[in-house]
Each structure stands twice: as C-alpha cells, then as structure tokens.
C-alpha cells in the first residue's frame, strides 16, 4: 500500500513519507524502501518529509535506521522538505542527523543527485562502491 509513496526518478528513489506513521508502518515503509533500492538499483534515496508536520520518536528512529540501512546497501540518503516546525523540534531534541545531507526541496535534491553522478558516481569512496554495487545489482 506504500508503493504509491515510492517513485523511481532516474537513479533517484523518491520516497514521500506519509503523515502519522505508526510503529509497524515505519517498518513496512523501510522494508519497501530497501526492496525498491534492490529492485531499481537506486543510488540516492530522497526522503520527502513535506507532508510530515509532527516530529516524534518514531520519526527520528525511522530516519536514523533507514539512512543506516540504505548506506549499508551502498546508496545515499538525502532528506528534503522538512517543515520549520519539525526542524525546531528536531533541534530541540538534538536530532540533528549530522551524517545525512539535507536539501530544501526536490529541485535541489535532483541537482545534488546530478552533481554526485558527474563527480564520478559519488563524492566518496563509499558511494562509488555503492554505485558499483548498485550497477551490479
């Protein structure tokens, strides 16, 4: 049922995170994201939070665990569209996600993705491997 929230755009996997994620739905969505990466060989996963206006512990855990798992699968997580109020709460809670790139919106996300591709797949060794892995997959 969350397939509609995940779209493939070039080598970008676009994930529209729905509002009010429940505990089991978090796991469900994350599983679907991982399956899509494997299926499409996406290099970059863009988590679009523009629909989310509440920041709770599920939310934090979702971003954190998803980015870690995506990295393990050789792709990169970019977050976009965080609402101001959500950011305020995240900062208050110290949930600053230092290892995750954030962009303003989808345009910037695409621009970032392209720059990553032009720079030879990835700015880092990891991402090159990921790209390789992805290509192989």
């Amino acid at each position: 049922m969350y397939f509609t929230n995940i779209q493939k755009l070039e080598n970008l996997l676009l994930v529209a995170v729905p509002q009010d994620l429940m505990d089991d739905e978090v796991i469900q969505l994350r599983r679907e994201v991982l399956q899509a990466i494997r299926q499409y060989g996406s290099q970059v996963v863009l988590l679009d939070f523009s629909r989310v206006d509440i920041c709770d512990s599920f939310f934090g855990r979702f971003i954190y665990s998803t980015s870690k798992m995506v990295e393990l699968m050789g792709a990169k997580v970019i977050i976009a569209g965080l609402q101001d109020i959500v950011i305020e709460t995240m900062v208050e809670l110290g949930m600053t996600l230092p290892d995750v790139d954030a962009v303003l919106d989808l345009d910037d996300a695409l621009a970032l993705t392209r720059s990553l591709s032009q720079n030879g797949g990835a700015p880092t060794e990891d991402s090159a491997e990921i790209e390789t892995l992805t290509l192989e997959g």
């Binding site: 965080l82 101001d84 305020e88 600053t96 303003l104």
Partner: protein
C-alpha cells in the same frame, strides 16, 4: 271718766298707735335696705335697744323647715358698749332640745315670749335660766321670726336690769315676727345659696384645676374653637407652640394670627368638616409651623364640641408631635432603602447560616436570583449549598471559613465559583462574619454576602489576554526588526544580528532563518554577529542550534564577524564551532558564499574606473 279725759285717752291711744306704726315703719324701711345679718339685727333691734336692752342676738335656726328645729346659731350680735358678756358670742350654737324654754316657745307660741324676771319666771327651764343668770341677764325677750308659719330665726333682747314691758313694747315685739319674716327668709335663702355656691365653687375650682393640670401635663396639645374658628381655649403646650405666655391669651384669636397661618386654610377645612358632619376626624398627619420657626409634624384628632343641649358649638382638637417618630421612621426607611439599593445594585446576595439547624436563610431573594433560581427553589441547607461550590474552590473556601471560626480577627473573604442553575459557573466574592457564639466560643450563627464578581473576573481575564496580545504583537514587531533577512544574491541571505541573544530571540532567529531559506531558496546563510556584544556559551549554543536547523533545511551557514575577543572566548569556553565555517568579517563571508554557490568575484579594470 270725763269726756276730756276720754278724748285724752283716745288721743293718747292714737298717738301710741301712730308711734307704734312709725316705729314699725322705720323697722320695715331699715329691714328693706338690710343686706347682712348685722343690718337685719340693727334694723330689728333699734326699738328694743331704745328700751334699755343690754344686748341683742340674732339666731338662725339651722334646721330643715319641715322638721323640728334642733340647732340655733348666733349670726349677729349687738352689745351695749362697755358690756361684754362672755356667754354670748358670734357663732355660738345651741342644741334646742337642751333648752326647753326655746323649744316650747318654738313649738307652741308664735308670739314674743317676754320674761320680766329671769330669776323666778316659771316659763324658763333650768338650763336657760342658768345661761341667763351667768350672763347677768335679769329680763329677756325672745321674738320668733317666721314666714308662712315656718320658723326661720329668733331675735332675743336681754336687760341687765329688771325691765317692765310696756303695752306699746309688747305690741311692737309681737309685730316683729311678721315684719321680719320676708327679710330673714331672704337672708337665710341667700346664706344657703352662698353656702351651696361656695361648696360648688370649691368643687368646680378643684375639678377645673385638676383638668388644667391634666391638660398642661399630658404630652398633647389641646385646643378648642367656636364654629367661626375663634379659639376658646387651649393648654400650655399649644400656648407654647403659638408663642404665647399663657393659654388665656389665645382666646378670641384664629389660626390666621399664628406662625402656622400658612396651614390655616387646611385646619379650617378640617374643623368645618367636623363641625358640619358631627363626626370626629382622627389621626390627621399634618405640618405645623411653631412660633420658634421650626416645622413639626403633628398627628391631630378633632372632635365636635357640643353644648348641654347637644348642639355643636365648635371643635375640640388635640395633637401629638410626631416629628421625631416621623424622622426616625424616615431615617430607618431611608437607610433600609439605601442598603437595599446598594445590595441590589452591587449584585450582593445575603445569607444567614444557623449552625444549630445547619440551615441557610436568604433574607432577600438576590442570592438565589443571582444564581438563576426562582425564589424558594434553592434548598436552604448548608449541604445543598456546599454542593454548589466548584470542587476546585471548595477546599480553599472551607479553609478560609475555618480560619475565621478559629480566630474572629481573620476576616472571611474568599473568591470562588458557584454553580448556577444552568450548570455554568459564576465567580463570587464571599464575605461573612460570625455574629453569635455559644459560651464555649463555638459559632452559632454567621451572616454574610456573596457578591457577583463574575463580570469583574471576566473583565480581568479579558484584560490580561489583551495585554498578552499587545505584548506579543510588540514582541513580534521587535523580532522582525531584530531579525532582518537580507537576500544579497541568488540563494544567499545575510542575517546581521544586533544586540543580545536570549532564548526567545534565539528562537525568533531560528524561525527567521528557516523562513528566509524557504522564501529565498537560500543555500547559504550568512550570520553576521558583529553587532552581538557578548558571545558566551549560551549565545554560542543558540547559534549552534540555528545552524543545525538551517542545515536540516538544506542550507549551509557561515558565521561572520568573529572578533579577536570572540575568538578568545570561544576557545576559552571550549566551544566546538568546527562543524561550520567561521570568518572574521562579512566581506570574506560573502566571497566564500559566492564561491559555494558557483560564482567568483572578479575585478574588472583597475578599480579606479577606467
């Protein structure tokens, strides 16, 4: 007998008759003009005295004319000068049954009783004889005074020498009773009348004095007037109100003559209605202007004044000064009214709690009405009333009550909410005081009020809310002023910070930064802290959060304006600022920013124009 002697005899008899007639005429004339006992005696006794009487006495018989006479009293006395008899004096009374001489004479004879020699006359009883002998009387004559055959009195002549009565004397003495009768009777009647009058006068004076005393003592003004409105009299109180010295001065005057003349017409109308209808008018409340200038309220009653035949001859009035009552009543009424008004306008409900019965009385219905109940609808027990108090306020109100019960000097003043009939809550100010305690100091009765302060309370809340809004609006305006976002180039915004940074301002800065990023699609945010006077760990922490937030929004932050002092502080405090770029001034910040977004500053020409 010779003719001459016969003629002489006849002539002598005629002369004697003439003499007698002239004597009796004289006595008669004198009697006619006599008015007093002494004059009567003098008139009657002139002939006897002429014939050598030593004394004469006039005795009236003090008796009922229809009865046997019993007492005789000497009412007038004449004595020859130089001869004073101790046995005869004015006012002496004789009990006639003890003196049978008089008694016999009174009952049996209508003629003068002549006693030529007291010492041996058989007519005299021993008492009479002793009386005369003691007085040195040798000869006496007792002449009854009658009228229509009733004994009226007695005239006596006494001689201290033996005296022989001539025929002429006998004839005259025998004529005296008839002659003296009318005068003596008149005199007796007059005396009787005088006696009766004096008795009646005494009675009248006494009752009149009593009446006057009563009239002048009672706290009522009493007056009486004739049909034409002229005063016939009054008591002291009316005289005083009228400014008169004595009640008699009022006689003949009318209401027009006194200080109350302004009300005369009304008084006259009342008088006339009483006079014409014959019905009393009672308890008229009216004003009177008294002579001292004061206005007094009277309660007046007027009743018709009638003569002996029952005809109405005027009006009798009495009045009571009710000014004090009236004023007291009016003051009471005023203060009651004022209190009621105050209570009502202040929206105060009264309650009266009897601890013995645990009942709460509402003296007026303001309290129930205040709470939206109809009169009588509110159960007036303490329990029922306590249930109406808001549970959040109950403890506090009960505590205040306990404090007041324990120590009367602690006032019972408390605010709380009470449930209205429709279920809503009303703020009230409760006040009360214990007015009665038993011997042990336990409260028996408490009286108090609940004042509706709902509106004040709401006004206060509204005021507070408005104040908050104003403060918020002002703060907003200041925040916008203090967090200006300046877009200097594509995707670059500058935020020059001026002034101190506290928690609230830090939040404002963060929001401004996030909004600025969205609005200008900024990739670079330059935070210039040149204008921040003090950078301590607090400020550093605030800035750090803002930078993290900007990063999550997809923008990089460059902090510019790091002075040498700030640099020192940052390091001394051990603050970690390595996760973002810091530069000394805005210029170098701009260069770096442009570089980041893909621009490069290049000097064109030599900088001096051409």
């Amino acid at each position: 007998m010779t003719v001459a002697s016969d003629i002489e005899d006849r002539l002598a008899r005629v002369e004697a008759d003439l003499d007698r007639v002239s004597v009796l005429l004289n006595i008669s004339l004198a009697l006619n003009s006599a008015r007093t006992d002494d004059e009567i005696l003098s008139a009657l006794s002139q002939y006897g005295i002429k014939h050598g009487a030593a004394s004469a006495a006039l005795l009236y018989i003090d008796s009922n004319p229809n009865d046997e006479p019993e007492w005789a009293q000497i009412v007038a006395i004449w004595q020859r000068p130089g001869r004073v008899s101790p046995s005869i004096s004015l006012g002496m009374r004789f009990y006639l049954p003890d003196f049978s001489f008089y008694r016999n004479w009174l009952t049996n004879s209508k003629n003068a009783q002549l006693v030529s020699n007291v010492a041996n006359d058989p007519q005299l009883d021993e008492n009479t004889r002793q009386l005369y002998l003691m007085a040195g009387v040798k000869t006496t004559a007792a002449i009854p005074l009658t009228r229509n055959e009733q004994w009226l009195g007695l005239l006596t002549f006494s001689w201290d020498e033996l005296h022989t009565f001539s025929n002429q004397e006998v004839a005259i003495y025998n004529s005296l009773p008839a002659l003296a009768g009318p005068s003596v009777e008149n005199r007796r009647l007059l005396l009787n009348m005088e006696h009766i009058i004096s008795e009646k006068t005494a009675e009248l004076t006494e009752s009149r004095q009593m009446l006057e005393t009563i009239l002048d003592t009672i706290p009522l003004g009493v007056f009486w007037k004739d049909r034409d409105g002229h005063f016939l009299g009054c008591n002291q109180l009316v005289a005083r109100d009228a400014g008169l010295q004595s009640p008699t001065e009022i006689i003949g005057k009318t209401d027009e003559d006194f200080a109350w003349r302004d009300y005369a017409a009304q008084y006259r109308a009342d008088d006339l209605s009483v006079i014409e209808s014959g019905q009393p008018r009672l308890n008229i409340e009216e004003l009177l202007a008294s002579a001292d200038g004061s206005r007094v309220w009277l309660r007046t009653s007027k009743i018709p004044l009638r003569d002996a035949s029952g005809a109405i001859i005027g009006v009798l009035g009495m009045y009571e000064d009710i000014t004090a009552q009236k004023e007291a009543k009016s003051r009471l009424f005023d203060s009651q009214q004022r209190l009621e008004l105050a209570v009502r306008s202040a929206n105060i409900g009264l309650w009266d709690w009897d601890f013995r019965t645990d009942r709460v009385e509402f003296h007026n219905q303001d309290l129930p009405r205040m709470l939206g109940y109809e009169p009588g609808e509110l159960t007036n027990t303490r329990e029922a009333f306590t249930e109406l108090i808001h549970p959040d306020d109950l403890q506090m109100m009960l505590a205040a009550l306990q404090a007041h019960i324990a120590d009367p000097s602690v006032p019972y003043n408390t605010e709380g909410r009470i449930r209205m009939k429709d279920g809503s809550w009303k703020w009230v100010l409760g006040s009360g005081v214990i007015v009665e305690r038993d011997a042990d100091g336990q409260p028996l009765r408490m009286i108090g009020t609940y004042q509706d302060i709902d509106q004040q309370k709401r006004f206060a809340e509204e005021r507070e809310r408005l104040q908050q809004e104003i403060i918020e609006a002002q703060r907003q305006a200041l925040a916008e002023l203090s967090t200006p976002i300046i877009p200097i180039m594509d995707r670059i915004i500058v935020l020059p910070l001026v002034g101190g940074i506290d928690t609230q301002r830090a939040r404002d800065i963060m929001r401004a930064v996030l909004e600025g990023i969205t609005r200008y699609r900024a990739k670079i945010v330059i935070l210039d802290i040149t204008g921040v006077p003090v950078v301590d760990s607090g400020v550093a922490d605030h800035l750090n959060r803002t930078i993290q937030a900007a990063r999550l929004k997809g923008a990089q932050t460059i902090v510019t304006g790091i002075t040498d002092a700030v640099a020192e502080t940052i390091v001394d405090l051990g603050i970690d600022w390595h996760t973002f770029e810091t530069l000394r001034d805005l210029q170098s910040g701009l260069v770096m920013a442009l570089d980041r977004v893909g621009y490069r500053l290049q000097q064109v020409g030599n900088g001096n124009g051409k």
